[in-house]
């Protein structure tokens, strides 16, 4: 129960800090700032556990010993990663979800396929993602051509190799 108590307290405290920061000003590089707040919060909490070992709010003593500290670290890290991956879907519009919402918004009269394709074009679906690659420094624009950086090549290699391991095609 100690892991649940401290894990939730640490994660949700810094999650609230992230919400507060986002309300004040939306960062340009949101993922980087989010990682800094959440992992910075975890590191500060672990330091706090070591510096104040006698703390015991609501009867839950702070995690002590390698096993407990590791368990809380893993608990918080797994929540951070799960939130980060969900946040990527918040940042960018998923085409499938935009499509289903457009159908739902049409209501009882339904949506014609032509209307649908008129709204879902390259400017809406592809170009914002190209812009993201430049913002995240995964690609650079050289003489009108998009070229991958080292970070982009690493990203491509991870997914290509894993998809090959699974015996699957390109996806997308």
């Amino acid at each position: 129960m100690k892991t649940l108590f401290w894990g939730n307290l640490v994660f949700f405290s810094f999650f609230l800090l992230h919400l507060a920061v986002w309300k004040v000003k939306l960062p340009v590089r949101q993922t980087k700032v989010l990682l800094f707040i959440l992992f910075g919060g975890l590191a500060a909490s672990l330091a706090g556990f070591l510096l104040f070992p006698s703390l015991s709010p609501l009867g839950f003593g702070v995690p002590a010993g390698a096993g407990e500290l590791l368990a809380v670290s893993l608990y918080v890290t797994s929540f951070i990663l799960a939130y980060m991956i969900t946040y990527s879907a918040v940042e960018a519009d998923s085409p499938t979800l935009v499509m289903i919402k457009a159908v739902a918004d049409a209501g009882e009269k339904g949506l014609r396929k032509e209307d649908f394709f008129a709204a879902m074009n390259d400017a809406v679906l592809v170009e914002p993602r190209l812009k993201d690659l430049l913002t995240d420094r995964m690609a650079v624009l050289e003489n009108g051509r998009y070229v991958l950086t080292g970070k982009g090549r690493l990203f491509a290699a991870i997914f290509s190799r894993y998809r090959a391991l699974l015996g699957l095609g390109k996806g997308g």
Partner: protein, 165 residues
């Protein structure tokens, strides 16, 4: 708590990945392999941790790691950014112009593939050339995400950037 117990969720994730890869390679069925891998990993996590007070947090941690692994696989399957990066990687050091990229991967092919998926899964139905919502599961997910977008970003979509900021 022992270090081995603390590492039970990581052991579970390892078993999850291995079982999922093996099943996917044998059957070619991605979604089913995800379910089977997750179940195998949960069993391994419980086995390593043992039946004690640490099992619940270990399983919660394992669940979150399993969720991440599912999304890693999903990114490879459906993410536009990953597909674009892979197209650029295949093009080599010369890269691609926007036109060349759009010839390889564009909104039309993307929407056709997703529309077919929605129709096959009965999330969308067709009557007299018009489309209606079928099973509402994906619609519920869309509404949750719109709620999160409004809460975090102050807008309901990328296309409505002027709502707040």
């Amino acid at each position: 708590m022992t270090i081995l117990q603390a590492l039970a969720p990581v052991a579970g994730l390892g078993v999850n990945c291995a079982a999922q890869v093996l099943y996917c390679r044998r059957s070619g069925r991605l979604l089913k392999s995800v379910y089977r891998g997750f179940a195998a990993g949960a069993a391994a996590c419980a086995l390593v941790c043992g039946l004690n007070a640490e099992l619940l947090p270990a399983l919660v941690t394992y669940g979150a790691l399993g969720y991440c692994y599912f999304h890693f696989l999903n990114l490879g399957e459906t993410a536009r950014r990953i597909r674009i990066v892979r197209e650029l990687a295949e093009a080599g050091p010369a890269g691609l112009s926007k036109g060349e990229l759009l010839a390889r991967y564009n909104a039309k092919t993307m929407v056709e593939a997703r529309f077919a998926r929605l129709l096959n899964n009965a999330q969308v139905t067709e009557r007299d050339g018009r489309y209606y919502v079928g099973r509402p599961a994906v619609l519920h997910m869309a509404r949750v995400l719109v709620f999160m977008k409004r809460l975090l970003l102050g807008r309901s979509s990328e296309q409505s950037k002027d709502e707040k900021y």
